[in-house]
Symmetry: C2
Subunit: 405 residues, 2 copies
Amino acid sequence: MINIAVLGYGTIGSGVVEVLDTNRESITKRAGDVINVKYVLDRRKFPGDKVEEKLVSDINIILDDPDVSIICEHMGGTEPAYTFVKSALLKGKSVVTSNKELVAKYGAELLAIARERDLNFLFEASVGGGIPIIRPLNQSLTADEIVEITGILNGTTNYILSKMSDEGLDFNTALSNAQQLGYAERNPDDDVLGYDAGRKIAILSSLAYGMQVDFEDIYTEGITKLTDKDFRYAKVLGAKIKLLASSIRQDDQVYAMVAPIMIKANHPLYSVNDVFNGIFVRGNVIGDVMFYGRGAGKYPTASAVVADVVDAAKHLGKNIWTIWSSKKLELTDINQVKHRFFIRLQDYAQSHKELVRELFGEVEEVVVADVQNEYAFITDLITEQELNEKKSKLPNVLTVIRTRF
Amino acid sequence: MINIAVLGYGTIGSGVVEVLDTNRESITKRAGDVINVKYVLDRRKFPGDKVEEKLVSDINIILDDPDVSIICEHMGGTEPAYTFVKSALLKGKSVVTSNKELVAKYGAELLAIARERDLNFLFEASVGGGIPIIRPLNQSLTADEIVEITGILNGTTNYILSKMSDEGLDFNTALSNAQQLGYAERNPDDDVLGYDAGRKIAILSSLAYGMQVDFEDIYTEGITKLTDKDFRYAKVLGAKIKLLASSIRQDDQVYAMVAPIMIKANHPLYSVNDVFNGIFVRGNVIGDVMFYGRGAGKYPTASAVVADVVDAAKHLGKNIWTIWSSKKLELTDINQVKHRFFIRLQDYAQSHKELVRELFGEVEEVVVADVQNEYAFITDLITEQELNEKKSKLPNVLTVIRTRF
């Protein structure tokens, strides 16, 4: 029997306990031993709940129990999660976590501690919910040099953007719609401003390139400024606007950004709609692969956590090698990154057209039948710096959206 | 240094040697040691090739060399591949293979031999080319009971079907088009009759359910009877016709089939076009996930092989547990499986409509503007047995295609 402790009995923690119970037989077979939840750490009481007898509020009871070999952390945030997880590793316990803040910030350090002690620190659930992506990056794409990871990594914003695209809703209506369905939190900033996706692409980039990518260094733009008109232009172009979290290697330089980007039907992420996530990976040998599924939710996330528990159980006393050094990867200055930019200007005036031609040369004009008094176009491939220089000379810019076509 | 031998220096074997060279640095880092190709087994000579000095034509040179710890088999077919691979395992060498015939037929036995001897038998490249699917099934989806695997597992047929759908080509034109591009072999039977996809779904099903699924037991229908008219009906329905390889568990019974099936845009495999493969997996906890990428080709396949070599190198002396017993899984009689069937009858006659209503009740009629003298409809959900009984009473049936909507 392998004893584990679950820290935090919220949505994910209770999902983990439930899944271990539901699929007990097959999990035992795959883990090679029975997985037993010995403790659940939570300050709350859960009268009548099946874990009632296992609840403790003092982490030291768990840390000091030599029978506990694996800890599942689902408290969220960096403290006290970081202190608890680090203490657990130092006490010889492997750790599984779904906590992206913890992994993005302390992943390299916690992996190093685990490695030194022949333990494991596993975090499949921290990115993409149930979608297997961490393990494939670590163990399946090992023959490749990764040259691009681009993901739809936040289900909340993808749901909002899908509604804006499909139903013509404006941002606020789509957001409150998402909040009513429980897809968005009451304070949605972390999602809609792109920070959540930023932490996740930081984790994936760190694994892909083997060095520390700090999410604070990643250029991040949210979806709050998009309007229903932007989506009408997108439709005319046969495009969708998606919040893409991207990390791309060019000539041994890596840039990373989170921003709304237009993609067309030939992009593998085009069909990833509603609350689903998709992660596109390009390797120098394998070419393009894509992973798709539910990026959040109690059960998909619990599935990823329990799969990590099974892996930790199979690897007691043996570290699963993960390359993520604490050496910082200096990202390329975003100003040097090139895109074709979709730009909308207020007023449809001949002088606008002439100015645009003067600044950008020949552009692709975009016309939406019933949108008047605007001039919209797509530039050639230019850097952010060029864009900003030229944009400052344009009057009344309504929108700038990067495109990947 | 870890010495390996490559059996077969064709497309994949030479790709493996090339990838090991191209990404030497990162592969060494991930494997924890230098991977050295010591021998290449091939009867042919390759004058001037970089492996010229490593070529041998006698397998015993490789089997008897204790310095060789991993064998990569890319000869194809079951013999002499089976004899060579089994001998290698019995001599204490781990084996990596891209050979789906070998894995489908002897997977359980070879895995058991590897397990007994603390070796590994790995075959990520045998299904889906470079797409990570074997390892995710074995190691990532371990918290789940798999209830469905449905894949577009054959790039040749998917290319042909995409051309028929997009360009209105008939089967023979699309096939010779594929042959000219090197996507189809001169004798295309193994692909177009569905046998290749059948072996692959047999492998995935064996892994998902942990028991032997014999591909000869899988109901298999190819794409040779599809006509350009079928695709015009599909278009009217907003559907695509895809060669789906499916294995579905219902009430502890599993059925498996390979057949052309109509799916609509809400199915994750709808957007998997041209030579790409996609594999959709449904678990009882994780819900739906999908894996997408190039299912064949020199480099994607070599990427999967080399990733397996890296894994074998990291696990020398330690078996990676894979559940696939030799106990045979008895598949459900296909006659009990239900679908909605799309049926085309020659001649548009009132008597047809009446007969159809009499046999099938209310049906969904399908009309294509410029296709005359036909009566087409979609049945309710009925079993194959009901379909066959009723079909025998219908005159001049042109087409029957299963649908998943």
